[in-house]
C-alpha cells in the first residue's frame, strides 16, 4: 500500500492516473443505455428468475423425488 510513500509521490501517482483516465474514450449514454436494454431484451426469454417456470421443470422448486445424476 501507499504507507511508505511520501505525500508528493502519492499525489504524482494520482495525477498520472487521472491524466490517463481523462483521456479514456467514452460513448454517449443514449447509445450505451440502449445497448444495455437491447441485451436484456435479447436474453429475457432464458431468464428463469424473471419469467418463472412450471413447478415440474425447476429442480429447486420441488423437494423430494428421485434425481438421477
Amino acid at each position: 500500500m501507499a504507507r511508505d510513500m511520501s505525500d508528493i509521490d502519492i499525489l504524482k501517482m494520482e495525477l498520472q492516473q487521472l491524466q490517463k483516465e481523462v483521456k479514456n474514450e467514452r460513448e454517449p449514454v443514449s447509445k450505451t443505455a440502449k445497448e444495455l436494454v437491447d441485451w436484456v431484451e435479447a436474453n429475457s426469454a432464458e431468464d428463469i428468475l424473471l419469467k418463472g417456470v412450471p413447478e415440474d421443470k425447476n429442480p429447486f422448486k420441488e423437494k423430494g423425488g428421485c434425481i438421477i445424476t
Binding site: 495525477l15 487521472l18 460513448e27 432464458e46 431468464d47 428468475l49 429447486f60
Partner: protein
C-alpha cells in the same frame, strides 16, 4: 474561503484518492518508479500545486463524463414492459454452520455450493438435497472469502489468516481435506474476497491491505498486484470471459476500480458511493457493473459511457447493501441487505419489484446460480437459503 475549500477537497482527495506503489520486494512485474514519472517535474512543485492539479483533473474528468450524459437509463427503458408480480420463496434452507455465514459460491454444476463462516468452517453442500458433502475447519475464524474452482474439484478460502488456501475436493468422504491444503496467496491483512479466473490455475484476491493480487495456484507465485485503492478492498468480480481480461474491485475508500489483469493498471475508477462498497458484480454482457454499499444504495456503472447510470434506493432502505448479483438477462438485481431483507430491483427502470423476507439476521452474501434458475443467500443467522 477558497483556501478552505481547496484544503477540504485536498484532504478528501488524499483520503480517497491515494494511489499506492508496490514496494520493490513485492513483485518483479511492477514498473520501476523512475519509469513511471512521466509527470513533468517542476523544481518548484509543491504539495499544494500538485493537489490543485489533482482537483482540476478530477473536475475535468467529471466534465468529460457529463458531456455524454445525454439521457437517463430509465428514460431509454420507458418503452419496455413493466415487470409483474414476483413470487420467489425460500425453497431450501441449508443449516449447519455454527456462526455467521460470510461468503458463498456456486459450483459450475449448478447444484453444489461452498460456504464459509465466522465459525472457521468451510462447507460444500448439495443444494438440491441440502446434504453436506465436505467440511473443512480452517485454522482461523472469520473465513470471509470462499470460491469454487471452475472444474468443481477444489475450493479456495481465507479470511483473518491473511491467506487464500486451496483445498482439492476428494471423492472419498473420509479423507481429511485439510491435509491436502495448499497455501496460495499471502496478504498483509485479511482476505476479503477471492475468485478463480477461467481455470483452476489462477486466483484473484482482494484484501484489507488495500491491494488485489493475481496468483498462480500451483507455485503460489504472485503474478500481478493491483494498487490504487486508498483503503481496504472488500470485493471483486471478474469480467465475463468473453469481454476480456478485466476485473472490478470495490473498497472502503468508496471507489470502484476497473483493472487490466495483464498490466496491473487501473483503467477506470468510479467514486459516487458515500460509504464502503461491499459488493461489485458485472452485468452479464460485461458492459456495466453493479455495486452495493453501506450507504444503503446499489448503483449501476456503464463502462463505455464511463459513468454511473442508475441508483437503486428508497427512503425506507437505510441499512447497507452487503451483496448484489444479477439475474441471467441482467433485468433483475438482487441485493442482500443488513436489515435482513433481499430487495429485488428492476435494473432498467430503477424501481424495486420485490422484497424478500426470511433471514433472521443480516444477509451477508448472495449469488445467482450459474444457469440462473435460483439464487442463494447467506446470513449472519447461520443459514443459507435457496430462492426460486
Amino acid at each position: 474561503k477558497d483556501d478552505v475549500i481547496a484544503a477540504a477537497s485536498a484532504a478528501r482527495a488524499r483520503r480517497s484518492g491515494r494511489v499506492g506503489l508496490a514496494t520493490a520486494s513485492r513483485s518483479t512485474s511492477d514498473p520501476h518508479p523512475a519509469e513511471m514519472a512521466t509527470h513533468e517535474l517542476h523544481p518548484n512543485d509543491t504539495l499544494t500545486t500538485l493537489k490543485m492539479e489533482s482537483e482540476n483533473l478530477k473536475a475535468k474528468l467529471e466534465e468529460e463524463r457529463a458531456k455524454l450524459h445525454d439521457v437517463e437509463l430509465h428514460q431509454v427503458a420507458e418503452k419496455i414492459e413493466a415487470l409483474g408480480q414476483f413470487v420467489m420463496k425460500t425453497r431450501r434452507t441449508l443449516k449447519g454452520h455454527g456462526n455467521k455465514v460470510l461468503c458463498m459460491d456456486w459450483c459450475k454444476d449448478k447444484r453444489r455450493i461452498v460456504s464459509s463462516s465466522q465459525d472457521g468452517k468451510v462447507i460444500v453442500w448439495d443444494a438440491f438435497t441440502t446434504n453436506k458433502e465436505h467440511a473443512v475447519t480452517m485454522p482461523c475464524t472469520w473465513v470471509m472469502a470462499c470460491a469454487y474452482a471452475p472444474s468443481g474439484c477444489a475450493v479456495a478460502c481465507g479470511g483473518l489468516d491473511n491467506k487464500c488456501s486451496v483445498y482439492p475436493l476428494s471423492l472419498d468422504k473420509n479423507e481429511n481435506l485439510a491435509a491436502k491444503k495448499k497455501s496460495v496467496a499471502m496478504h498483509t491483512n485479511y482476505l476479503s474476497a477471492c475468485s478463480f479466473t477461467n481455470s483452476d490455475m489462477q486466483i484473484l484476491t482482494s484484501s484489507g491491505d488495500g491491494t488485489c493480487a493475481l496468483w498462480d495456484v500451483e507455485s503460489g507465485q504472485l503474478l500481478q498486484s493491483f494498487h490504487g485503492h486508498g483503503a481496504d478492498v472488500l470485493c471483486l468480480d471478474l469480467a465475463p470471459s468473453e469481454t476480456g481480461n478485466t476485473f472490478v474491485s470495490g473498497g472502503c475508500d468508496k471507489k470502484a476500480n476497473v483493472w487490466d489483469m495483464r498490466s496491473g493498471q487501473c483503467i477506470q475508477s468510479f467514486e459516487t458511493h458515500e460509504s464502503d462498497i461491499n459488493s461489485v458484480r458485472y452485468y452479464p454482457s460485461g458492459d456495466a457493473f453493479a455495486s452495493g454499499s453501506d450507504d444503503a444504495t446499489c448503483r449501476l456503472y456503464d463502462l463505455r459511457a464511463d459513468r454511473e447510470v442508475a441508483i437503486y434506493s428508497k427512503e425506507s432502505i437505510i441499512f447497507g447493501a452487503s451483496s448484489v448479483d444479477f439475474s441471467l438477462s441482467g433485468r433483475l438485481l438482487f441485493g442482500g441487505y443488513n436489515d435482513y431483507t433481499i430487495n429485488v430491483w428492476d435494473v432498467l427502470k430503477g424501481n424495486r419489484v420485490s422484497i424478500l423476507f426470511g433471514h433472521e439476521n443480516r444477509v451477508s452474501t448472495l449469488r445467482v446460480s450459474p444457469d440462473g434458475t435460483a439464487f442463494c443467500s447467506g446470513s449472519w443467522d447461520h443459514t443459507l437459503r435457496i430462492w426460486a
